[in-house]
């Protein structure tokens, strides 16, 4: 023990430096208090709160809206499975949608008139989960040799091959001509609902009409989601979960720490695939049919968008992402709600871009003036540019006199304006300070024009544009997602 003050100070300094991370405020900004409070709630209580809210949902809405709830829950389940592979083990699996499809087709085949024998649900589900998991394990075998891009592309091929086989099953050389298991492009219809313990989980109501139609399936999905969340939470905290994260961070280092890398990869693929198979079987029963179009790239992107938006690697994040990704587009279907959503989203983006209320006010004012000028000149040049009507009752009164609602040549002009709007967005990203606001004004106007003239009537295209943009923007702005934790990759 030395009592020279210099030494003690040095030790203190070292500790001070070492602990500096702990002293730093984890959250900043106006959301900090809420997020600190969220951190103090234990995972069990978080799940309980979520389940309480989710269980109350069917009481509050009409029957058709319960269906949206089922979509959300199924997406959450399958996204949690994807999260095991991508978020935890760090393996970019682009063939994941095939496992979902495999589960769905498997269930549809054994629970419809495709085969003479119908399997009871209690037997079918375990077999489906086990088979899909096995398929996942098989697909993981190449991942012993392939990493990164190569693994991604190979799994993507797998998804394509799956789709082609399903579409053309009867034409396979070794299949007898009269056996059409998958129904080709027409899919399989008349899939029977699940039946557990003598209780049929069909699309009817519950408790003699107390709860609306579809609530049986809704609660079944909710129960499975809850079980899944608990299971995955425990798995993540276990040795296996730590091993996955280790091989995500640095496979070579993990191997040196005696983690059986190949077995862990195999396990991640198998667990992810099993979850996808289970969800697929549920999906087939809810849809009362399966069709090859459900298992294309589009659904793969939807799953990825859910995982990335919420925060890959975080269970609450993925569930939140699934809710956002599945629920928001449903709002787009109703032009009235979609209009609100669009303008609120635009306002939020505007604020994020300029970050000052006075600048926001200046921009909005300028956009308004810009619109009036455009309208004045285009009305002079070409009468028909102001002839059309805006898409929804409330907004149209506001918009009709301001934004150009085209009548003739609507499609052609909208295309050009769409390109202009995208160029505008690029300029906004590049520009700084006042130049940014100068670029924002026409961009906002063009975006509104495209929306009022076209996007509002094309919810499915809008949804695709949105998902693509979510992936690109999230990666650039916040790769860890809404609830994820930031990772640093050491190279």
């Amino acid at each position: 023990m030395s009592d020279t003050p210099g030494d003690e100070t040095r030790i203190g300094v070292d500790q001070w430096v070492e602990q500096s991370e702990d002293r730093r405020e984890k959250y900043t900004g106006w959301t900090a208090p809420a997020r600190r409070m969220f951190d103090q709630v234990s995972p069990g209580w978080r799940l309980a709160l979520f389940l309480l809210a989710a269980a109350a949902y069917p009481f509050l809405v009409r029957g058709s809206d319960v269906r949206i709830g089922i979509t959300v829950l199924l997406l959450a389940m399958v996204a949690l499975g994807l999260n095991v592979v991508v978020g935890w083990a760090g393996l970019l699996d682009l063939g994941y949608v095939a496992f979902y499809g495999f589960g769905a087709y498997f269930y549809a085949i054994v629970a419809s008139d495709q085969l003479p024998a119908h399997w009871p649900t209690w037997a079918a589900i375990p077999v489906i989960v086990a088979t899909t998991a096995l398929l996942g394990a098989l697909l993981s075998l190449p991942s012993r040799r392939l990493v990164g891009d190569y693994l991604a592309i190979m799994t993507l091929f797998f998804a394509q091959i799956f789709l082609e086989l399903v579409r053309n099953f009867e034409r396979l050389p070794f299949v007898p001509d009269d056996l059409d298991l998958t129904g080709g492009p027409n899919g399989i219809t008349g899939v029977e609902p699940w039946e557990l313990f003598g209780f049929e989980i069909n699309s009817q109501d519950l408790f003699g009409g107390v709860l609306p139609n579809f609530s049986r399936q809704y609660y079944l999905a909710l129960i499975f989601l809850a079980l899944l969340i608990m299971g995955l939470h425990n798995l993540n905290e276990s040795r296996t979960g730590r091993a996955w994260r280790a091989l995500r961070e640095d496979t070579l280092a993990a191997e040196h720490m005696t983690i059986p890398v190949n077995r862990m990869k195999l396990l991640a693929f198998a667990v992810g695939a099993g979850i996808a198979g289970l969800t697929g079987a549920m999906f087939a029963a809810v849809q009362i049919g399966v069709f090859p179009t459900s298992f294309t790239l589009f659904f793969l992107i939807t799953m990825y968008a859910a995982v990335i938006l919420g925060g890959s690697g975080s269970i609450p994040g993925v569930v939140l992402g699934a809710i956002a990704i599945a629920y928001v587009p449903e709002l787009l279907r109703d032009p009235g709600k979609a209009g609100w959503l669009f303008y609120i989203g635009l306002g939020a983006l505007l604020y994020v871009m300029v970050k000052r209320w006075d600048h926001v006010a200046v921009t909005v004012g300028s956009v308004f003036v810009f619109g009036l000028i455009v309208r004045f000149f285009s009305g002079r040049i070409w009468d028909e540019s102001t002839m059309g009507e805006a898409n929804d009752a409330f907004m149209s009164r506001l918009m009709d006199d301001w934004v150009l609602i085209l009548d003739a040549q609507r499609d052609v002009i909208t295309n050009y304006v769409f390109v202009l709007a995208i160029v505008g967005v690029m300029l906004v990203v590049v520009a700084r300070a006042w130049w940014r606001i100068a670029a924002l004004v026409p961009t906002l106007y063009f975006a509104i024009l495209v929306w009022e003239n076209k996007l509002a009537f094309e919810p499915s295209i809008t949804r695709q544009l949105m998902f693509g943009a979510v992936l690109v923007v999230m990666m650039a702005v916040r790769p860890q997602g809404l609830l994820g934790t930031r990772r640093v990759e050491i190279t």
Binding site: V86, G90, L92, L94, P142, R145, L146, G148, D149, Y150, A152, I153, M154, L156, F157, F158, Q160, I161, E164, L165, N168, R171, L172, P173, L252, L297, I301, Y304, A305, I308, N415, F418, V419, I422, M426, V429, V430, K454, L455, E458, I461, Q464, L465, F467, G468, A469, V470, L471, V472, M475, A476, P479, R487, E489
Partner: protein, 305 residues
Amino acid sequence: MEFFLQQTVNGVTLGSVYALLALGYSMVYGVLKLLNFAHGEVYMFGAFAGYGVLTVLGGASALSVPVWLAIVLMFLAAMATSSAIGVALERFAYRPLREATRIAPLISAIGASFFLQASALLMFTANSRTYDTPQLIEIQTGIALGPIRVWMVRILVIVSAVVLMILLTLWVNRTRLGKAVRAVSFDREAAAMMGIDVDKVIVVVFLIGSALAGIGGVMVGLVFGRIFHLMGFVAGLKAFTAAVVGGIGSIPGAMLGGLLIGLAEAYTTGYISSTFQNVIVFGLLIAVLLVRPSGLLGRPELVKV
């Protein structure tokens, strides 16, 4: 024999287009170690740009300019559109992620690809278009090759692809900028330290790769006629296959790979089954990846820790 020759010509035509696309993948992978998933969409927009020019000029049956001029203009428009999209992709989807984790640019690329697909759906709708080339160039024209006759358009496609590849090889091997591209592919950091403007090199690579993809798009339109908003996805996958089979990062490898994939696809269609051609081609690729991950002409990558 006649059938075999016919399939070979088909395969070489298709292979030339795949090779042009594969060059884009390979060059981008060389400098950025990034799989540019959106490359197929760049090619699709090239095809639509060519179609747009054709329509503006009056359509295939009532052309207002000489045929050769129309085709040149189509190629130029496709090159301009595709390069603009390629450079924009690099600037906005990939450059912000250059120092990010390895998985991030891949996801961004998938997102960009999907966004471009949806944009095409919005702008061009889901209907497919046709170039109607037989109206432009009589299908009987061409040269006799033994028992079969090779259509003029196919010759045009094959010859121009070969010329482009020779020019590209010369450019990469003989010019200063080409040397810079090779240096950046070899080691980006070291190249930067030697005073090479890495950003500029990457932009040039995207520019050239995308222009080649645009040319490929117009070629497909000319030979096979039908273009639609989803055409980029499968073609992109196959071109990437070609790049991998040849050895990713290697320019002669991309050409060889493209040719091989084109021939494999043509023979599969001709002799085995047209329904399962994609399955067989993809299966072939998985086999190549497993047996020789570095491709036919690629060098195995050594990882230093």
